[in-house]
Subunit: 471 residues, 2 copies
């Protein structure tokens, strides 16, 4: 598809050098997702100010061109790449990254949407602060809002939504919607920012945010706890929350099937279990505090709490190992990559009420074991908040069907179990994109779709923004 | 206005004994707000199940009758009383209070909307849990959602919205919208519950909720800190957040003008400052932890932290007094009542970015001092989250104008200062009702009103629910 010369010239005039990209080689990075997704763009534009975003959207609208807002393109549901038609304009926020204003007394920060999480955290750290939504990727703030990212420390800090005070959004017609408040309390009816949080940019383009920062902990301590059964993980979680609640920052659980590949895969990390195989489940517990060691010996406290729990529940628990947090997180963070070395992987990002996690995993194993014994269920996740990254690994040669037929059947089976039988979610923290559009279509209620349609008609009546359909 | 007999009979059939009230003496309590608001109802209905709520709404809609959903009627903006026309049906949720199901492993609770906060907390305490949105009133949970109440410990726990997982809402046509999920992570597009949180029941009637509970602290410690100027309060807050962040549960600041009446008014509490007058400002600091005393000496820790701060900032700080939390909260909670003994009171529920609190108060004093020297500015509030309950007290005999003229002028002046000059909120935590409808009309953006109108058209096209206009 050719770009209309006057349109291109208007964009170039507006955005200056490097503002418009249409060389196929330049475009590739904007068409390709970090892990999933590949599309074809008409061109990519890189505005550096909110006013430029507004003007770009107005220009696109005049021509009826669809627009795909894009952050760091690290999303995992394909919502950050254009579709394959070659007619969408990619609106990259990467140059909209000038403002990063910290108010230390307010413990808030005003950022442009294109600021990277890592950049934000470097700046905050100088003031003893952090933005505590902790991820394995380095997204832009605008993308984090549009995806409402969760991550590994949600248990303590909540998701993006919980730390978001104000938002600047540009609507499809170029209108700038400014709710850039730094207020923690502002109970004046409908809170508009929630309409643009977690909705994949389909109602407007996030161009700026005011975030609440958290004090940076002075100490962290972590431990692995071997669990002979999943239920023992829930009991341990309860004991830790009741005993040292405000210090608990993460509670991850990894099955033996998820862990073993880490110790034999390309990373080949040393197993903390030595020569023995990992127990059925292993919990990774992390505490953090702003108190100094002299006041609170955090590793000692953790060791003692876990020791007491082990004594009382010895039948259910195996070893306890307190170790530097980085070494334990390294194990946790190598799981996804290691599983890819074991065969074909079908990944899920599910949540169920956390008290039902063990039962849910058993139900998946029972359902798949009967119909598709080729699958190994490798589950791990943020048990503290009910999240489970269930991964199915299989040897293609041993599968009863080619992947193109097998995968959608199995996805449907697992999603139905999670959503319909266990009151769970088909997308715990990755959001909605083309990759799980079918789930939205199947599971979203009529009221949910009607509200989405009403807001789409209001904010983007020509249907120009994004690739996902939230109605 | 007479009640149509067939309608009354249908309601009585549906709701049984005590389900329909139309005797004027019985109605009075449903027509009268806890502190503000007085209306006139056609009748009051008291459904005990969600199905009954649905049927009541359908019956009212058939007749075009407007409905006022009502919780414990403790709201402070008049949103929980009918208007004066005598044609509204009050839908009291007080009998919809049967379900209160705690999932201890999940740390969540499913409650009917009519359950009182005190009832919920009694039940949770048996499991070492609490619903941490802390208020001076005893509202119903449904009303708390509709008002998105904040309270004194928002700094640590957030408002209702931050602790709300799922919601059941009945729309104006009787449709039951069930999002009663217990999920902490559920990133599947627009999060519907936020449309019904803090929107005063105008989009639907909240009939049930799933809440996240917090572990009940084992220890609390509190202190008063005398401040020679407001800015010293912000410095103290910053030091406490950085030094013992996760333990800090409240940071209140009270001006001398707000405190003095507590020690001479009807409560006549003993002043912790002895014979001396209170300093210009006094901070109330509270810490809480689930750790036992043997691990962490909380009062000792607080005393030491404050002592260190006093040493470094001696010029700005007066005394430090660590005392049992209840005795200090008693002082704080007697302010409103004591001010009423001092003259006429005009109360505000404002928020500004917390770093601007001292400047804001000075600006109010300067503005009013010049034009209306009759006012005493008695400010106190939740400084940790930017909230200030600014109270103006005056002697009516000394006022330049009768209250009916003076009050709206002064309100406009103060609200304009807060919202337009300081980026603040005219309703920090009380929500929107007839009492501050004019503020919504004046300060809400066009986009805010348009979104409200679109949702109202979707969920309640005949405009039957509530008395406030959020569009």
């Amino acid at each position: 598809v050719a770009v209309e010369p006057r349109f291109r010239a208007a964009l170039a005039d507006l955005l200056g050098a490097g503002g418009v990209l249409d060389d196929p080689a330049d475009l590739e990075k904007y068409e390709t997702g970090w892990r999933y997704g590949k599309g074809k763009a008409l061109l990519a534009v890189r505005p550096a100010t909110t006013a430029q975003v507004s003007r770009v959207l107005a220009l696109c609208r005049e021509r009826g061109l669809r627009v795909l807002p894009q952050g760091a393109n690290t999303g995992l549901v394909g919502a950050s790449v254009p579709d394959g038609g070659g007619r969408m304009v990619v609106l990259s926020l990467e140059r909209l990254n000038r403002r990063l204003a910290i108010d230390v007394l307010d413990r808030t920060v005003r950022v442009d949407a294109g600021v990277l999480l890592s950049t934000l955290n470097q700046a905050l750290a100088e003031h003893g602060l952090t933005f505590p939504v902790d991820l394995s990727a380095d997204p832009q703030i605008g993308g984090m809002v549009a995806a409402n990212t969760g991550g590994g420390r949600l248990l303590r800090y909540g998701d993006v939504r919980h730390n978001l005070l104000g938002l600047e959004v540009v609507l499809a017609d170029g209108t700038v919607l400014d709710t850039l408040t730094a207020l923690r309390k502002n109970n004046t009816g409908l809170d508009l920012k929630h309409l643009f949080t977690g909705t994949s940019g389909v109602f407007g383009v996030v161009t700026g945010a005011v975030l609440q920062a958290a004090p940076l902990p002075r100490q962290r301590a972590a431990a692995l706890v071997g669990l002979r059964r999943g239920e023992a993980g829930l009991e341990l979680l309860r004991a830790l929350e009741h005993g040292l609640s405000e210090l608990l920052t993460a509670f991850e659980v990894m099955s033996a099937q998820a862990l073993e590949p880490v110790f034999r895969g390309p990373a080949a990390l040393r197993s903390p279990f030595g020569q023995a195989p990992p127990p059925p489940y292993t919990a990774l517990v992390e505490l953090a505090t702003t108190l100094p060691e002299a006041v609170l010996d955090l590793p000692g406290l953790l060791e003692e709490a876990l020791g007491r729990h082990l004594e009382a529940h010895g039948d259910d628990l195996a070893d306890v190992l307190v170790a530097p947090p980085e070494s334990l997180w390294a194990i946790r963070h190598h799981i996804s990559e290691s599983l890819r070395g074991e065969g074909r992987v079908l990944a899920f990002d599910l949540a169920v009420p956390r008290s039902r996690l063990p039962a849910f995993t058993e139900a998946v194993k029972a359902a798949l074991g009967a119909e598709y014994p080729c699958f190994r269920v490798c589950d791990f996740g943020h048990w503290g908040d009910g999240g489970t990254h269930l991964n199915l690994v299989w040897d293609e040669a041993a599968a009863p069907l080619p992947a193109a037929e097998l995968v959608p059947r199995v996805q449907r089976r697992v999603y139905d179990l999670a959503v319909l039988d266990f009151g769970g979610s088909y997308s715990a923290e990755h959001g909605v994109g083309p990759h799980n559009q079918a789930c939205f279509d199947r599971y979203a209620s009529a009221a949910h779709k009607a509200a989405g349609a009403a807001l789409k008609a209001l904010f983007d009546p020509d249907g120009l923004l994004g690739t996902v359909r939230l109605w």
